[in-house]
């Protein structure tokens, strides 16, 4: 159905995600989401639901560093920039200083080059603008070997 250039479709069945549409089971990759805004966490939680990953959440950079110091290990870290207590730049730096080599994908709503540079200097692997979408996440997961071919 088209209207003013927009296209509509009727969604009847569940969303399917092809090769990613697996139930979370043994061997699920572990993702740490570091994000202070609850709405954003709820959306990411829903985005990853069919992606066969196990998601843990930290509300700020300090909570993330504490989880890692406590022995938690992850296959990927999604790190927001601006957060209370310890921000994303500093948390990334601290995580790297602990010798952790887990890929860190930095996230920010402001696509400023300075943010990107600071994150990369702190040890992030890449920088992605927010908000995340399912397609963006699938691409990120693929790049870091979190897919299931």
């Amino acid at each position: 159905m088209a209207l003013g250039g927009a296209r509509f479709r009727y969604i009847i069945s569940s969303n399917t995600l092809g090769r990613f549409g697996l139930a979370m089971g043994e061997g699920a990759k572990r993702i740490l989401l570091v994000e202070d805004t609850e709405v954003n966490r709820v959306v990411v939680r829903r985005l990853v639901r069919e992606l066969n990953v196990s998601l843990e959440e930290a509300e700020n950079g300090q909570a993330a560093v504490d989880l890692i110091r406590g022995g938690r290990t992850y296959d990927l870290i999604l790190m927001d920039k601006e957060m209370p207590v310890v921000d994303g730049h500093e948390a990334t730096r601290q995580i790297r200083s602990l010798g952790v080599t887990t890929p860190i994908v930095a996230l920010s709503g402001d696509s400023l080059e300075s943010d990107r540079d600071l994150f990369l200097q702190a040890g992030a692997d890449e920088f992605q603008p927010k908000p995340l979408t399912r397609d963006k996440l699938i691409n990120i997961f693929s790049r870091y070997g979190l897919d299931y071919d």
């Binding site: 296209r7 009727y10 069945s13 569940s14 805004t37 609850e38 709405v39 954003n40 709503g109």
Partner: protein, 153 residues
């Protein structure tokens, strides 16, 4: 007959919300995450957003009302509102937040006060619009219809 009339109204209404800039593609993204196991996902995320924005707007009013205004604190609250509005696709709210943050950077009290009024107004407007949209969805479902969702491409 009734269902198709409601579906047409729905399409007209949501198209206008996009056309007038109230919503952007992130809202469509959320709609595509809604399925039988999460039939109210979009309205639940929207409710969470409006609860959170009410809290942040109250905090902003209080902080801007102080004798000495802490612009860093204001900026942190606006940052949160910007992030959550972007996550639900409330484009006009997000855009005012961008201007609001520039005013914070410049320690521009007048500008911040103006932006606070504007962002309150935009939150109020988009809440009313989304309430009406969700009511229309319920009417379509009650008549046995399926809610039309805009394609992402």
């Amino acid at each position: 007959m009734e269902v198709s009339r409601l579906q047409r109204r729905y399409i007209d209404f949501i198209s206008a919300l996009f056309h007038e800039g109230f919503l952007d593609s992130q809202f469509t993204e959320l709609q595509h995450l809604q399925d039988e196991s999460n039939p109210d996902f979009v309205s639940e995320v929207a409710s969470l957003f409006f609860e959170d924005s009410e809290r942040l707007l109250n905090e902003l009013s209080r902080t801007l009302d102080q004798q000495t205004v802490d612009f860093k604190k204001i900026d942190a609250h606006v940052h949160q509102l910007k992030g959550s509005s972007a996550s639900i696709g409330a484009q006009r709210v997000k855009n005012v937040c961008l201007t609001f943050r520039s005013c914070c950077d410049e320690n521009n009290l007048e500008g911040c006060l103006g932006c606070l009024q504007q962002v309150k107004q935009e939150c109020y407007l988009v809440k009313n619009k989304l309430d009406a949209l969700f009511r229309l969805e319920q009417q379509i479902l009650a008549t046995g219809g399926v809610v039309p969702i805009m394609s992402k491409d």
